[in-house]
């Protein structure tokens, strides 16, 4: 079987927050690898550093030290502008609270990443077509001109999933994607993520809910800023 390339390759990631006189080591030498096409959950109790890991892996911040290769590109030491461009080109985000632009139609929300894409060769019309197509794929073909406040939580999360996919990212980062949803909509969202995964989308999901983590191939457990253990298909590793 052909070896899949690594999308995430992080070694000895350390993130230190300076809080006045003392420092907090939110990440303390975490190493993590995610291969193309994987669906990975990151779990851990609060304070374990999973949010920080998510922010570092999502290129929202740089690690204090350590190496981070995203899709083969060294992104451990980039400035704000370069990080923004990496996010725009290679990543898609799904947040717990959806983070859609208020009073803005679903379509506009989905187009947003393309809007900031300097390399895009698509015309405005092509961007629109693409966004409409993806909205259709997440089951919102009849909601493209609805604004977030007119949509249910599950529908809003679908819009944000569409937004995460519109720029053909190498990886989608999901932060507690079902955290604000009832169990039925939550299950629907997870089914949607699983179906995306089956189509080959690489997904890294942060969650504290073991039931949600079960949808994934592999679960990485964090503790005190380090990777404590990994579970693949229910079998204990290490």
């Amino acid at each position: 079987m052909k070896k899949k390339k690594a999308i995430i390759d992080g070694k000895d990631l350390i993130k230190i927050y300076q809080m006045g006189d003392f420092e907090v080591r939110a990440l303390d030498g975490a190493s993590i690898q995610v291969k193309e096409g994987e669906f990975v959950a990151i779990m851990g109790p609060s304070g374990s550093g999973k949010s920080t890991l998510m922010n570092v892996l999502g290129c929202l911040m740089s690690p204090t030290s350590g190496e981070y290769f995203l899709d083969g590109e060294d992104v451990s030491d980039l400035d704000k502008v370069e990080l923004a461009q990496i996010r725009n080109q290679k990543l898609g985000f799904i947040f717990q609270s959806y983070n859609l632009l208020a009073r803005t139609p679903a379509l506009e929300n989905v187009i947003l990443p393309l809007f900031y894409d300097r390399t895009s060769l698509l015309t405005d019309e092509e961007q629109q077509e693409k966004a409409i197509e993806i909205l259709g794929a997440v089951g919102l073909a009849d909601r493209i001109y609805h604004e977030p406040q007119e949509l249910s939580g599950g529908q809003q999360q679908r819009v944000s999933i569409a937004r995460a996919l519109v720029n053909d990212p190498v990886m989608v980062m999901a932060d507690e994607p079902t955290g604000n949803l009832d169990s039925k909509s939550g299950a629907e969202i997870m089914d949607l993520l699983v179906s995306l995964h089956k189509k080959g989308v690489t997904i890294v999901m942060v969650t504290h809910d073991p039931a949600i983590a079960k949808y994934t191939d592999r679960t990485i457990h964090l503790l005190d800023g380090k990777v404590a253990r990994e579970v693949i298909n229910g079998k204990e590793q290490k």
Partner: protein, 416 residues
């Protein structure tokens, strides 16, 4: 990112908060409107004054007596202008088109059953209509010969003629002045309107010799002789244009002549010569000062408007922290965010500026209608106000835009 897209985002953002956008623009609107209205008022005032000055007649030189300049110990009778000075100027100075001497007296007049009190009887000379730019509508004006002979005739201002005789033709009618002096009407002037605060239409014009000999108080008359306070000299149109004689040459010639006639030196004259231009210059410097004061006041209100924009933009940046975070998470760079907010500020001030221009133009018109003052929209003031609004927008939009650009995406996303 393409500028047109930045513009579109900014426009949509403003539309989402219509009321706030409008309130933000209010300062700019008022500022711009104030600049335009204030400059319109001052320009209107200036134009009115200009009209009045030119309404007095163009190319005028005023020769006035300066009693205060007489040498100590001499009686007043030795100083000042006399009636004959005017004719000397007319006869002996080249480049003089006409000379007018005026002496007025306020009297009660009677024509038929109509009696009018406090009518200005204007004793004047033959060149009066040309120097004062007044035209005869019916009949004729006074001739020099009639003036020399103290002929009891009169020419009426248009409104005075109507008051005394109504629709009737006043030609040949008799007017009794001061109970005893009977004047025959020979003509009526066309309407002239107000010049300064002088109503030329309500006056009665008669030979100056009549006023000097019969109307001016006897005691005063003996004391003053045929003294006059003011001689109007109208300069030939060629003066100053042919290069041979300039206005200054004419003034110098008049000074020499009068000094010789009055036996005074040019260093200590008993008369003062002013030109129309002197009056216009004085007037211009006054209105210029007035105008720049108004412009400053209005400019300050523009700056206050700008501070208003900055305030609201700062609030708006805080309020929209989450939105900024979302944009950053999908790849907006600090510059993208900075441009978005700067463009919003610029759009606000430009739209505010446009509304302000409209409000200013309409406001100036309404003000003109309501107050009866003349207002003139000065195009340069519109451009100035609009341009200042744009500059104010960029200047005061920069700080909030920078604040927005420097937000950390994680903090911004977490912001509730």
């Amino acid at each position: 990112m393409k500028p047109i897209k930045v513009l579109k985002i900014a426009w949509l953002a403003l539309l989402k908060n219509k009321v706030r956008s409008l309130l933000t623009m209010l300062g700019i609107i008022i500022g711009v409107a104030a600049v335009i209205i204030m400059i319109a008022i001052s320009a209107g005032t200036e134009a009115t004054i200009q009209d009045q000055i030119t309404g007095l007649g163009s190319n005028l030189i005023y020769v006035s007596a300066s009693f205060g300049q007489g040498r100590p110990g001499e009686s007043m009778t030795s100083g000042g202008l006399v009636y004959d000075d005017a004719f000397a100027i007319a006869d002996q100075i080249n480049g003089v088109a006409g000379v007018v001497v005026e002496q007025s007296s306020t009297q009660t007049i009677k024509a038929g059953d109509v009696t009018l009190e406090s009518v200005t009887i204007m004793g004047t000379t033959a060149d009066f209509p040309s120097v004062r730019d007044m035209d005869i509508s019916s009949g004729r004006y006074l001739t020099q010969e009639e003036i020399d002979r103290t002929k009891p005739i009169a020419v009426l201002g248009s409104s005075l003629a109507e008051e005394l005789f109504g629709e009737q033709d006043p030609f040949g009618e008799t007017i009794t002045v001061d109970g005893s002096i009977r004047l025959t009407v020979v003509g009526v002037f066309e309407e002239k309107g107000m010049v300064g605060d002088v109503d030329y239409d309500s006056r009665l014009y008669t030979p100056i010799t009549i006023v000097l000999e019969k109307l001016v108080n006897n005691q005063f008359s003996k004391f003053m002789g045929d003294r006059v306070r003011l001689i109007y000299v109208e300069v030939d149109e060629t003066v100053g244009t042919e290069g041979e004689r300039t206005l200054d040459d004419v003034i110098y010639q008049i000074s020499l002549l009068l000094a010789k006639r009055h036996d005074v030196t040019l260093e200590e004259p008993d008369f003062v010569i002013t030109t129309q231009q002197d009056i216009i210059t004085t007037q211009e410097s006054t209105t210029a000062a007035f105008r720049s004061l108004l412009a400053w006041v209005a400019g300050v209100s523009l700056i206050v408007g700008g501070i208003g924009i900055m305030n609201i933009m700062l609030v708006s940046v805080t309020e929209r922290t989450r939105e900024i975070g979302i944009r950053q998470s999908v790849g907006a760079t600090p510059n993208d965010i900075r441009w978005q907010f700067l463009t919003e500020a610029l759009l606000l001030s430009l739209i505010g500026g446009l509304i302000g221009v409209a409000a200013g133009v309409i406001g100036a018109w309404i003000f003109g209608q309501a107050s009866g003052m003349r207002t003139v929209i000065v195009v340069s003031s519109v451009l100035l106000a609009f341009g200042s609004a744009a500059i104010v927008g960029v200047f005061f939009g920069f700080y909030p835009a920078n604040q927005a650009a420097q937000l950390d995406p994680i903090d911004a996303l977490r912001y509730e």
